[in-house]
Symmetry: D2
Subunit: 108 residues, 4 copies
């Protein structure tokens, strides 16, 4: 299981608001039954098999052209760790635990 963050940016849209295009990509993402996702303020985080993640990002990217956009910049950041299981929730919880521990170490 890998994690990925994807940002899809339509260019030349005529208006600075691009939420309708981003919404269309999320609907493409929802068709992927075997992956989990989370919408964040700066992109969409996807959890799943890496080949499936890349396939679904490819569909999200293509969906933006279907919406009438002529140029799309898509940024994918993959975090692939093979020595232990990774998940969206697990990674955030694990980091918060390290932060909490290091704060209480300082207090001693």
């Amino acid at each position: 299981m890998a994690l990925a963050d994807v940002t899809i940016i339509p260019l030349g849209t005529g208006t600075p608001s691009v939420s309708k295009y981003v919404a269309a990509t999320i609907k493409a993402l929802r068709r992927g039954k075997d992956i989990k996702y989370e919408i964040t303020a700066m992109g969409t985080t996807i959890e799943g098999d890496l080949d499936r993640i890349l396939a679904v990002v490819r569909e999200m990217h293509e969906e933006t052209f279907t919406q009438g956009v002529a140029r799309v910049v898509t940024i994918i950041k993959i975090d692939d760790r093979r020595d232990k299981e990774s998940s969206i929730g697990g990674k955030v919880e694990s980091l918060k635990a390290v932060i909490a521990r290091s704060v209480s170490d300082k207090a001693i």
Copy 2:
């Protein structure tokens, strides 16, 4: 107010787990009183004045060297919109509303 997503990657650490370094950057971030932040699975989202965001990211980056790392790759993605107010929570809510609306349009 701008939004930014920052990912700080220490290289050559000897172990694939880098949470202690990331935790140190979050502590540097917490010293910035005039910015808001949210930890995500793939990075940290920061909301605030753009000059303050860049200053705090600079401190987070430097903190990683203080922890004994010799090479750091830092990725900053800035979303700066001047035609309306932006916030971490507002952006996610606004996108979710567009998604919900487009789903119900389809249902009609």
Copy 3:
């Protein structure tokens, strides 16, 4: 034809120098006969059919695990323009021409 920039970052390597891992990814890239590439100081730029680009980046990413790394962060930035042909050389030349023109406009 799309353009993409790929950065492959091995984590936990024990030394800040990662050129042997990057060299291995370039050899994986060279096996892709139907794509062009250019090594830059900050990544590798690839030109070709988008599906082929994603397939070759997938191989580059996997090659890093074959080299014994347990965690890999891969960043892909795709620029896909459907209203006109794009190429690595053409894009740089076109931008330099716009810069030159705007400089001489100022001089008049």
Copy 4:
């Protein structure tokens, strides 16, 4: 000395071609006397003191608003190595030498 790659993406421009905006950012970059830069197909690579790099990227980003754009996405990737000197040319040459060596090793 650090290296950074910057990509500045204006949103809502009405046309997929954004070279006039990118050209304006390059002119802002040229005013930075103490940094080196190279235009690539996917962004601009900058070499110099990290504080100077961030200051000049800040100016490039701001320049895009001066050109009448209401929303700008700017992506900065910093590679900061403190155990040895880094330069745009040196990094590419060093990587190419490792690739050449590993190819001739295979041939033996």
